[in-house]
């Protein structure tokens, strides 16, 4: 079964049902529930989290450890349980990129946890001292890897 929808940025998108990610409501976007992850190109460190319910909405996301190798998010076990994951390794962890003025920053305080197999995701607000606007390291330090 496929789902077809028109996205303002990406035009017509066709998704297989198993590519649809059902998110718990994101802070600030209570009516955006269904998303899909799309790589903007194969070798990019960045990809898109595109909203199916709100065709104007998309986030740039990235795997934080490419950019911040010592990032250590303490994800509470109840979040893992809520996504049917036993350990963090069972899930994808992504962070949202904010692009403002001339700078790109990462929201390390509230990563996205995704269980692709189950088609589920949620944004986790971490306890502790993580920045919502951690600066990106210099480009030379970024090791680009294909989106898995």
């Amino acid at each position: 079964m496929t789902l077809r929808f028109e996205h303002q940025r990406f035009g017509e998108i066709e998704l297989r049902a198993e590519e649809v990610l059902h998110f718990d409501p994101l802070p600030g976007f209570p009516d955006a529930r269904r998303f899909a992850l799309m790589g903007h190109d194969r070798d990019s460190a960045f990809c898109w989290l595109v909203c199916i319910d709100r065709p104007e909405l998309a986030f740039v996301v990235t795997h934080p450890w490419l950019l911040v190798p010592d990032y250590d998010p303490a994800v509470a076990p109840e979040h893992l349980a809520a996504l049917d994951g036993k350990a963090l390794e069972d899930l994808d962890l992504l962070v949202i990129v904010t692009l403002r003025d001339r700078a790109a920053t990462l929201n390390l305080a509230a990563p996205l946890l995704v269980n692709r197999a189950a088609g589920r995701g949620r944004q986790v607000i971490l306890e502790g001292d993580h920045s919502t606007r951690a600066p990106l390291p210099a480009p030379a330090q970024i090791e680009s890897k294909p989106h898995k």
Partner: protein, 79 residues
């Protein structure tokens, strides 16, 4: 807004599976205990709002800033 009066130690129920208990009240400060299923996240309002504001900002992607991000990525390719 529904407003209810509770004494210390008393609770209220939201639906079948959420219980909110007044643990203590002292001066202007109230300690609240919350029992809720794991699928329902519980946060202080100001923490939730901080993340909501960041999400809203992240959703505003100008084409120029994106262009810059992609160019930035392009720079590393030769290495």
């Amino acid at each position: 807004m529904l407003v209810l009066t509770r004494k210390t130690g008393e609770s209220l129920r939201i639906g079948a599976d959420i219980r909110v208990t007044v643990v203590s009240a002292n001066g202007g400060q109230v300690r609240i205990g919350i029992e809720a299923p794991a699928r329902i996240p519980v946060h202080r309002e100001e923490v939730w709002e901080r993340i909501a504001a960041q999400n809203r900002e992240a959703a505003e992607l100008s084409p120029e800033s994106l262009e810059r991000l992609l160019r930035r990525e392009g720079e590393e390719e030769p290495s």
